[in-house]
């Protein structure tokens, strides 16, 4: 059957399986991705079916994982690397930024770097320190990297395969608190382009732009606002590098108001860049300044405080009200 109801986790697993089947050069690498199937079981069963040469349990060394993936890509392989949790990507940050991102440019286009780095990210699961961070800005800021995050099962299924097919390195952020959300996946569909935004809900009064785990919150906020007679459009950005500014502009030219929502700290975040660019592009269309809702300039708090730290329904609705009040 072409359309299946899957969790995001299962959609990712199916997607990896399909990629392994379709191209013998695709490899899965990471800590615990083999026998255990990953701590979130995203790679469950893949080593059993594809063997240890293609689904590779690695030493616990993130720089080593990414650095050897670069070497494998130079040899013609297409490694899909799993970093176990967001906060653990930093030991590999040097390899990602100084090597992976620049190899294509410094080789004057000779070398392709088809490496995907999957990172379960963001909060909301009550984890300990370093297990709930949203570092996407740090990657989106780096030329040479592409950064995406699906918010639903269909995108999880398709975007991961598109990322693997890309000849550019893609940082693939998976919203870990949404892993168990179910959605319809049409495995025979023609998917949206990897870096195109998607209108998740149409509206006419204001645009909410979000990605990954915040799309669901924004959809809930839009539903709540509708009960108060407000028509809220929700854009699922899907890609943080590149950002689909044309898609955002089209929505803002219609609604004339924009709020950007993400879990990462607001300061110098993706929302800041969107606010700046949309202000330039839509200066005469905007009825209110572009507002941002997100994390604070503080370390990610202990789990008992994360509900206060993370943007929830009320904080998003508050921003909607503030925008509409101009």
């Amino acid at each position: 059957m072409a359309v299946q109801k899957l969790t995001i986790a299962k959609a990712l697993n199916d997607s990896l399986r399909k990629a392994l089947e379709q191209d013998p050069k695709v490899l899965i690498m990471g800590e615990d991705v083999g026998k255990l199937g990953g701590v979130f079981r995203i790679t469950d069963g893949l080593q059993k079916d594809f063997g240890e040469e293609r689904v590779i349990d690695t030493p616990l060394a993130e720089s080593g994982i990414v650095g050897t993936a670069i070497g494998l890509a130079l040899r013609g392989y297409r490694p899909v690397v799993e970093i176990q949790f967001d906060g653990f990507v930093f030991p590999a940050y040097d390899q990602i930024v100084t090597q992976l991102a620049k190899m294509h440019a410094r080789s004057l286009g000779t070398i392709k770097m088809p490496v995907v780095i999957r990172i379960p990210y963001a909060g909301g699961i009550g984890a300990v320190e370093h297990h709930s961070e949203s570092p996407e800005t740090l990657f989106a800021h780096v030329p040479g990297l592409k950064v995406v995050s699906p918010s639903n099962a269909s995108d999880a299924y398709w975007m991961l395969q598109q990322a693997i097919l890309s000849d550019d390195p893609v940082i693939f952020f998976e919203p870990k608190r949404r892993y168990w959300d179910k959605g319809e996946v049409d495995v025979e569909a023609i998917p949206d382009a990897l870096h195109a935004s998607r209108v998740a809900r149409t509206g006419t009064d204001i645009t909410l732009a979000a990605y990954g785990p915040m799309v669901k919150v924004c959809l809930e906020a839009a539903a709540a606002a509708a009960e108060e007679g407000k028509s809220v459009e929700v854009l699922d950005l899907r890609s943080m590098s590149p950002v689909d500014f044309d898609g955002i502009q089209a929505s803002v030219e219609k609604t004339r108001r924009l709020v950007v929502v993400h879990e990462a700290p607001v300061f110098l975040g993706v929302g800041s860049e969107i606010a700046a660019r949309i202000t330039e592009r839509c200066f005469y269309h905007l009825e209110a300044p572009v507002l941002r809702v997100g994390g604070y300039h503080a370390p990610y708090p202990p789990a008992r405080l994360e509900d206060e730290y993370l943007p929830g329904l009320d904080r998003v609705l508050d921003a909607v009200d503030r925008s509409l009040a101009y």
Partner: protein, 401 residues
């Protein structure tokens, strides 16, 4: 589907071409200096005076000597020529930096034997991951020396296609490339190929975590990679005492593969030991660490001043071990070459130096719009937008493009 794991991989090579008399099985850690303070025990085949070491009287080198048993006097002259040409090129580049033609230069002066010996041990299908100082290895790989100067002049970040000569681009961040080499070697093993991979790095890079991770990965996946450390005694101004408390080659033992210390100023010994290590890799016996014990006679780069951090006596002591002079002494003593040969080589190297000067001075600056080229393989909307903005800005000037 079941796939044989890398660690359990059987020897992949049959019919390996080996010099007659080569040892059939390699033993780990042939050199066994006891402490850091002890005189380093080196694999040496040619003394600083240019005399071939008597293998019968030096059992430590018996394992390696067969790997150069096939070397003819023609080969010796070839190694000599490689070292002379490399030194001439290096000297020219240093001069060009002083003349303002290059922004920076990392001289290999003193390290010619380590680079030519190891470089000439490689087969065409082997793959090299250099640092930014492997000009001699590049020479052995057939990379046009002038192509090495683009990045130092500031016209590009590379200057050659790595796949043409299996010689990767120079890597500036120290140690990073040891992981790339390891990953590449993992791929070689997966492909069932019998080529080997060599990663160059320095004593300073040995302190980097990436090098330790490369050792770990290559050991557990039994990857066909040779780690070739040129211990030139100084990491800019930091001596080896600031990098390690035990001899570097001994570190390999803790990772489960052999380490060998070779006289890095002895081109024959470097050739033999590297061939030995490459053979191990080809046979599926995994990684080796080779520590070429040598000396950087010049500055780290043209930006530093070694007189500030090291003693003249130390440099003078190493001058006596010069790799080129010792082979010249050997060639003269054995009648393998005469003064006419050296004079001829001098003419050839001068011509090469002249060509390098001319090519560098005529290197064009890259096109301005190259800033936006090759940032991404598949394109990127932001790059497209900024390219168009910048082009419009340039065109806005009177007579603009």
């Amino acid at each position: 589907m079941t796939v044989e794991s890398t660690a359990a991989r059987k020897p992949r090579r049959s019919g390996t071409k080996r010099p007659a008399g080569a040892a059939s099985a390699a033993k780990p850690a042939a050199a066994t200096a006891k402490t850091h303070d002890a005189e380093p025990q080196l694999v040496q085949l040619l003394t600083p005076e240019g005399v071939r070491v008597d293998v019968a009287e030096n059992p430590d080198v018996a394992e390696f000597a067969p790997f150069v048993a096939d070397i003819t006097t023609d080969d010796l002259r070839g190694l000599y020529r490689d070292m002379v040409m490399t030194r001439r090129f290096d000297g020219e580049a240093t001069a060009l930096q002083r003349q303002g033609e290059l922004g920076l230069w990392a001289s290999l002066l003193g390290q010619e034997a380590a680079q030519i010996g190891s470089g000439r041990a490689l087969r065409d299908d082997d793959y090299v991951f250099p640092t930014y100082r492997e000009h001699g290895v590049a020479w052995c790989r057939g990379v046009d020396p002038t192509n090495l100067l683009g990045m130092f002049r500031g016209v590009n970040h590379g200057g050659w296609d790595p796949t043409t000569n299996n010689f990767h681009l120079y890597t500036i961040v120290i140690g990073s490339q040891t992981l790339h080499a390891t990953g590449y070697a993992m791929g070689v093993a997966k492909d069932g190929a019998d080529s080997a991979v060599i990663a160059y790095f320095g004593d300073g890079a040995s302190s980097q975590g990436d090098v330790a991770e490369a050792f770990t990965f290559s050991a557990v996946y039994n990857s066909p990679v040779v780690f070739f450390c040129q211990n030139n005694q100084w990491a800019i101004s930091e001596p080896t005492e600031r990098q390690m408390r035990v001899p570097l080659y001994q570190r390999a033992q803790g990772f489960g593969f052999p380490g060998v210390r070779v006289d890095g100023n002895d081109v024959l010994a470097c050739l033999a030991v590297t061939r030995w290590a490459l053979e191990r890799a080809r046979r599926g016996e995994g990684p080796t660490l080779v520590e070429a014990f040598t000396y950087r006679m010049g500055a780290h780069t043209t930006s530093d001043d070694p007189t500030k951090y090291r003693r003249d006596e130390e440099t003078a002591a190493w001058e006596a071990k010069d790799p080129i002079l010792r082979l010249k002494a050997h060639l003269l003593a054995t009648g393998a070459a005469d003064e006419a040969y050296f004079a001829e080589l001098e003419v050839e190297s001068e011509a090469m130096g002249k060509r390098v000067r001319e090519v560098v001075r005529s290197m064009p600056d890259p096109d301005t719009m190259a800033i936006f080229e090759n940032v991404y393989a598949d394109g990127h909307a932001l790059v497209d937008e900024e390219r168009a903005q910048f082009a419009a800005y340039l065109a806005s000037f009177e007579g603009g493009e």
